[in-house]
Amino acid sequence: MPDVFSRPGPAVGIAYSSSTPAFLSRHPEAVDYVEVPFELLQHDPAAAEVGQVKPIVLHCASLSVAGSVPPSEETVAAIRRWVETTGTPWVGEHLSFISAEAVTGADEYAPGEPYNIGYTVAPPMNEETVETVLAAVARDGESLGVPLLLENPPLYFPVPGSTMGQIELVRELVNRLPSLGLLLDLTHFLITARNVGFDPLTEIGRYPLERVVEVHVSGVEEQEGAHWDNHASRAPEIVFELLGEVLPRAPARAVTLEYNWSSRFPSSVLLDELARARAVIAATGRGVA
């Protein structure tokens, strides 16, 4: 298989859903790679068969790099096995926590067990988190054998204990770890901007774009006075505007369209979105020579 990630311009891929194999059989040239979640592979190893057709990029939501409860050795070992099996060039992981220690008192909940949300949550943005993440990357990330990219989480509510903004947190991490690469989720960035209250097009320039290896694009939805991630609807135009701002300044090797929450996401729409992404890449002058 050609090395799509070494081209001058970023490769364009999609996040895996159950309709992906059929989509690829009908449109084999539409995408350059498929991003597959580690958690899905654990549940359905057959999903890895897509790697016979397209390169796989492994995505993860299990390391809880910003949490106080480290992942089990079994989990890290399993991620490592899938790194080898898929041949992924890197692993994208969320700058988040998925579990927490139980603070015990008179009122116990799930005694003896850490709390496990089963979903990523933005951490307090402070010095302690910087240290926790750096330790986690050193402990678990470096054992994977490929680079670990950190993905910015969406901020749905102000997290207590935060003493800095998200951009500052990410900047502090890359300053302390020069080898650290980033996965910039533009939709998460937009959600954070909308929920916190800043202009994403202005602030994106403050993000350490020089470290961005992969970019995510997905839909957004507004409900109950806040903005929420939505991988079942098209990205709004502003996300592609942000992509156009980022690519001239980021050495991104991959742009992933995350439309994987519904296997009924129309193929015609997915093709449109892929064309949209490629058009933005071409307009920035970073298209494949």
């Binding site: 089963g118 949550v121 307090p124 207590p160 939805e221 929450w261």
Partner: protein, 292 residues
């Protein structure tokens, strides 16, 4: 207050709706109970518990992403009416599928959510949500029928019709469904609603509201589903058919007495049911099916 304590409290809020409610009611007392002092209370004063609740609903909604595949119109209307987050947050408040035995599998968890959704929608004053309720119930019926067809089942041999030695009075025949039969009462036509959805209708304009009964008839041999709209009387009759009682017994239950159950009425009912091509008829006490 260290990060581990913040994360612990936030996580418990996401997982334990009762805890979140207690925290909202008396933050200091709850945090004192966890051994977290005044500084913790000050730090957590800015935690937006209403938004945390919605986030817990969001997480639950994501964990139900398979509903997009099986119940696309239901999910679509939840989003169209912008109540998806509130519904899943309320589902979380109610405990979600926590009481469902995991060994029962995903279908049981889905059924649990659909039960909750039907209850939730029935309790809402907004008349537009009756549309969503009807669509959800229709999609659920189709889902249940699909599962039933996919499951192994023994088909009743219908190809060998047997003539009884004697003519049997219509009232003494036992009607039995040829395949699966489900009945449901709706306020709208769910098929018409889904057509409007497919056409991109924002569903903001009113939908014809008229009580109607639909019969979902599944022929296991051909694996086809037929939908029939029934009048109230026929629906009541079909709802009472249990495959064990005679037509006469069913009619007596529906009408309340057998004063009007003449032989002519019984034959007329038999003809009506046969016209639906949804039943075969067995003489009371006989083993073989009887087809007139």
């Amino acid at each position: 207050m260290r990060n581990r304590e913040v994360q612990s409290v936030v996580t418990r809020c996401l997982l334990d709706p009762a805890f979140l409610a207690r925290l909202a009611a008396d933050r200091d007392a709850v945090l004192d109970g966890l051994g977290l002092g005044g500084e913790a209370s000050a730090r957590l004063a800015g935690l937006d518990l209403a938004r945390v609740r919605l986030f817990s609903g969001f997480v639950l909604a994501v964990k139900h992403n398979d509903l997009w595949d099986r119940f696309p119109n239901t999910r679509g209307l939840l989003r169209r009416f912008r109540i998806e987050l509130e519904v899943f947050s309320a589902y979380r408040d109610a405990g979600g599928a926590r009481h469902v035995d995991r060994s029962a599998g995903r279908p049981a968890q889905i059924a649990c959510f659909l039960d909750f959704l039907d209850w939730y929608l029935a309790a809402q004053p907004e008349t537009r949500l009756a549309v969503l309720r009807d669509v959800a119930r229709h999609e659920r019926l189709v889902w249940e029928i699909d599962r039933e067809l996919a499951a192994a089942c023994e088909d009743v041999p219908l190809s060998a019709a047997v003539e009884p030695a004697e003519e049997v009075a219509a009232a003494e025949l036992i009607p039995r469904p040829r395949g699966s039969l489900r009945l449901a009462c709706f306020e709208h036509d769910p098929l018409a609603l889904m057509e409007r959805l497919a056409a991109g209708d924002p569903m903001s304009a009113g939908c014809e509201r008229r009580r109607r009964w639909l019969a979902y008839l599944v022929d296991r041999e051909s694996r086809t589903l037929r939908l029939l709209e029934l009048d109230e009387a026929t629906a009541a009759l079909m709802a009472a058919i249990d495959g064990r009682r005679t037509l006469g017994e069913v009619v007596r239950e529906v009408i309340g007495d057998d004063a009007g159950l003449t032989a002519e009425v019984a034959v007329s009912l038999l003809d009506a049911l046969q016209g639906l091509e949804a039943f075969f008829f067995v003489p009371s006490g006989a083993a073989a099916p009887y087809l007139r």
